[in-house]
């Protein structure tokens, strides 16, 4: 082994050190939250802080999972169910609607194609607050206030433009010839979409599903105004209420927050490799 460090080795070392720093910056705040959720309240507020508690306290998780009907736990469990329904409903509807629309944008030529696409993308520029008051009145008159259905309806309007954008770019990257071959064999356009385009667009579809799920799970403003009870309150609203009410018990907020973060974390980690392959074609046409 030569004792002289080559330039290449030095660069590689620098890159690894930088990667470690980034990894620690990503993990440190989350680790603190994990620790806080299992540190006894008494220990958590001592100065100087004892980072690793001498004994662990899982009582907050017990409260959340087993607390009776009037406790924080019941609200949290209801919110978990509501968030799941809203996110899955939004993803399902947005994907179906988005796939059909994206196919039209990517493959068909029609009048005002560009104008319509720009209009869809422009909705992303609008602040949610500008639609809040009328939407409240509309949902109220339809009897959809404080229901998961009403929330799904509103969330879809936020998610569909994103799905359209990712998928129409991805569909454009799939060679026309694939589809033409199928259509020469007598397949209809919809048949070609289902049997040829969709399988070829799998990375883009997964990326779109992931973005849609995270957006829906994260949505806060509509949920804040349109929900008022355990009937439809989603996790972001429940957590922000927790954090407002139990200002002294950070451990409880941390425990609830971690559980609320678990589904999107699992999905993001599983689908992580599709972000790049799904966007690589999606973001930029070379």
């Amino acid at each position: 082994m030569s004792r002289v460090i080559t330039r290449r080795q030095r660069n590689s070392l620098l890159i690894h050190v930088a990667a470690w720093i980034v990894a620690i910056a990503c993990l440190a705040p989350v680790s603190y939250m994990v620790l806080a959720s299992i540190t006894p309240q008494r220990v958590l507020i001592t100065t100087p802080l004892q980072w690793i508690p001498s004994h662990l306290d899982f009582s907050r998780y017990v409260t959340i999972f087993q607390g009776d009907a009037d406790s924080v736990g019941a609200t949290f469990r209801a919110a978990m169910v509501n968030s799941t329904i809203v996110a899955l409903g939004t993803v399902a509807i947005s994907m179906v609607v988005g796939i059909l629309g994206a196919y039209a944008f990517a493959r068909l030529r029609f009048r005002f194609r560009r104008a319509i696409l720009v209009l869809f993308l422009a909705t992303y520029m609008l602040p949610q607050i500008a639609t809040l008051i009328p939407l409240y009145l509309i949902l109220n008159s339809l009897g959809l206030l404080d229901t998961t259905g009403g929330l799904i309806l509103c969330d879809c309007a936020l998610v569909v433009p994103f799905v359209l954008w990712i998928l129409s770019n991805y569909f454009l990257s799939i060679p026309d010839e694939l589809e033409e071959a199928a259509r020469v064999d007598g397949t209809t356009r919809m048949g070609a979409l289902w049997y040829v385009v969709l399988p070829a667009a799998r990375p883009g579809i997964f990326a779109a599903i992931m973005f849609a799920f995270l957006l829906a799970w994260d949505e806060f403003m509509y949920a804040l105004i349109f929900t008022s009870s355990d009937n439809s309150k989603t996790l972001p609203v429940a957590i922000s209420e927790f954090a407002g009410r139990y200002t002294t018990d950070f451990g409880l907020v941390a425990a609830g927050g971690l559980l609320a973060a678990l589904p999107p974390l699992v999905i993001a980690i599983i689908f992580q490799r599709y972000i790049v392959s799904g966007m690589a074609a999606g973001a930029v046409k070379g």
Partner: protein, 313 residues
């Protein structure tokens, strides 16, 4: 438009082309109808209603007496110094957070693309902050910045950097910067992955050619990586600017606009006016002014984007 379809256009006679165009148009109509209902149905009509409301004095959700005030609400907002202070803070938030996210995001993207030993593990770790919901992120940083028991105080004191616990969210200016820090932590991974997508589409031949020319890393970065990344960077810039200008969730959950309005951005200001003060007319006017600000910003960006030959746009 692809070469294949352009060629087809040349071959087929104009009449047939027109017919085909109509047929495609009809199919496109049916394919796009669900998306139009889902998006415009929920957005266009409410936007229109908000415009109407912004011209009236509406002081309760169930108000029966709502005098017409024309542009009175707008004039009221535009002459309100609190509004301009909120706009100033929003611009500060937008510029600082977007700039930090772009620079840090580019660094992380280069690391994600580098030849690392445990690359899959590194990519998995970097995804984590992005996957954490905004409200949970806000609650987490609120705990970390806590003046009595927060982890930041504990860490800095134990390292001997500060000698007294600080109220990180207690001072208006400091609080705004702390909220920016929390927002940047969550968003850098997303920006990094966007830019990584752009990085991976750079042909390796370009790097090889540069190496043959004995170009160093700074030169490769400046002459190959940056120019090739311009489209990705511009998309990220538009998305992040718009998002930052609309920022609401993290402010609501971390500081409720305080202390002394130090973190009250314009979307939060609009929310407070409409829902806390029950002043729906003025609240609607503010949300329209925000919309105009964002559309103006986007128009500038889109012009730049078109110049960089973006797909679809």
């Amino acid at each position: 438009m692809t070469v294949a379809s352009a060629k087809e256009d040349l071959v087929s006679p104009p009449v047939r082309r027109r017919k085909k165009f109509d047929k495609q148009g009809r199919l496109a109509f049916w394919l796009l109808l669900p998306a139009c209902i889902a998006v415009f149905g929920v957005i266009i009509y409410p936007m229109f209603r908000t415009l109407i409301v912004s011209l009236f004095q509406v002081n309760s959700a169930l108000a029966t007496v709502t005098p017409f005030v024309g542009f009175g609400n707008y004039l009221h907002v535009l002459s309100d110094s609190d509004f301009w202070a909120a706009i100033g803070r929003t611009f500060y938030f937008t510029i600082v957070s977007t700039a930090l996210e772009l620079v840090l995001g580019l660094i992380v993207a280069l690391l994600l693309n580098a030849n690392l030993k445990w690359r899959w593990l590194f990519r998995t770790i970097v995804v984590i902050p992005w996957a954490i919901p905004t409200i949970v992120n806000a609650a987490m940083w609120k705990g970390i910045f806590n003046a009595q028991y927060g982890a930041l105080n504990a860490l800095l004191t134990q390292l001997g950097i500060i000698h007294q616990y600080q109220a990180w969210l207690g001072d208006p200016n400091l609080a705004l910067n702390m909220v920016i820090l929390a927002d940047v932590w969550k968003t850098v991974p997303l920006v990094a992955f966007f830019l990584l997508a752009g990085l991976t589409s750079i042909p390796t031949e370009l790097y090889e050619a540069a190496k043959l020319d004995r170009a160093g890393w700074p030169r490769i970065f400046r002459s190959i990586v940056l120019p090739m990344l311009v489209p990705s960077i511009s998309i990220v810039l538009v998305l992040r600017t718009v998002e930052a200008f609309k920022v609401f969730d993290i402010i609501y959950a971390m500081t409720r606009g305080g202390p002394v309005d130090g973190t009250s951005t314009v979307a939060y200001f609009a929310y407070e006016t409409a829902f806390s003060d029950q002043n729906f007319g003025v609240g609607s006017a503010i949300s329209y002014i925000i919309t105009i600000f964002i559309l103006a910003l986007s128009a500038v960006y889109l012009r730049l984007l078109r110049r960089s030959e973006m797909s679809l746009l």
